[in-house]
């Protein structure tokens, strides 16, 4: 297995490639997902706390690459920048 197999896809309008790393228990992660849903954005996400073993380590490594604090939510945009935390204004600008 690898993280790729756990990634969930949410369809919507696609302007950017958005991959969201979240925790299933986190309030800010939920707010981020629901904001993207309201914006009808297309995105991929994975709840890292639901992964185990190598898959979890692989996902944490990926998050750390973009956000050394390894905090959630971490949103990777077009594979070249990231938004850490629930930043409403920054997320709004993605539309």
């Amino acid at each position: 297995m690898s993280v790729k197999e756990h990634i969930k896809h949410v369809s919507g309008s696609k302007k950017r490639n958005v991959t969201l790393y979240t925790l299933s228990t986190c309030g800010w992660c939920k707010k981020t997902k629901s904001m993207l849903n309201d914006m009808k954005m297309e995105y991929d996400y994975v709840d890292v706390d639901l992964l185990q073993g190598d898959d979890k380590e692989e996902a944490l490594g990926e998050v750390r690459k973009w956000n050394p604090a390894c905090s959630f939510p971490t949103m990777v945009i077009d594979d070249n920048r990231c938004i850490v935390g629930f930043k409403e204004d920054e997320i709004k600008r993605l539309a």
Partner: protein, 173 residues
């Protein structure tokens, strides 16, 4: 990962207890009740998974010793309340936010990254209990969550201020 079902009565009763304890201890729960109860569901989920209340907004290692600083209330709650008006997950907020004068925001992570956490723990151990402490009639213990200090042979079973258990105390002097 199989998840246990979280009972709504449990969420409600924990919400009432935390609110009572916060109000009597000078703290405030987030006034957004739905958001707050969702965090409590996260705490209960983590209790079922790991056996303790790991912060719902942080990734748990699953090892209690390693996660001790992020067990709710976490070691970072009070400095985050001072600097940002809310703790990291925003379960606890400042009076201004509790009164609706300000809104809780997602804040930066204060917890050091894993590679910095271990050395810090070791440094803490060697820095504690300095030479002069031997001249004191009792060692002084500090609650790492709220800063409560007491001079006695051992820390109390439960912090009388913030209710965290003995293991959250450090030797201060």
């Amino acid at each position: 990962m199989a998840e246990m079902e979280i009972r709504e009565e449990a969420v409600e009763s924990i919400y009432q207890r935390l609110k009572r304890e916060a109000d009597s201890g000078g703290y405030h729960l987030n006034p957004d009740i739905d958001f707050t109860k969702d965090l409590i569901r996260g705490l209960l989920t983590n209790e079922a998974r790991y056996g303790y209340w790991s912060c719902p907004c942080r990734i748990a290692s699953g090892g209690k010793d390693e996660d001790l600083d992020i067990i709710c209330p976490c070691d970072y709650r009070d400095p985050d309340l001072t600097d940002f008006g809310a703790c990291y997950c925003a379960l606890y907020v400042s009076r201004a936010i509790a009164r609706g004068e300000k809104v809780a925001q997602s804040i930066p992570e204060r917890r050091p990254p894993p590679e910095k956490r271990k050395p810090q723990k070791e440094a803490e151990h060697s820095a504690n209990a300095p030479e002069s402490a031997t001249e004191l009639p009792y060692p002084v213990w500090r609650c790492k969550v709220c800063g409560y200090l007491c001079a006695r042979d051992d820390p109390p079973e439960v912090c009388p201020i913030c209710k965290v258990p003995k293991e959250r105390f450090e030797r201060f002097m």
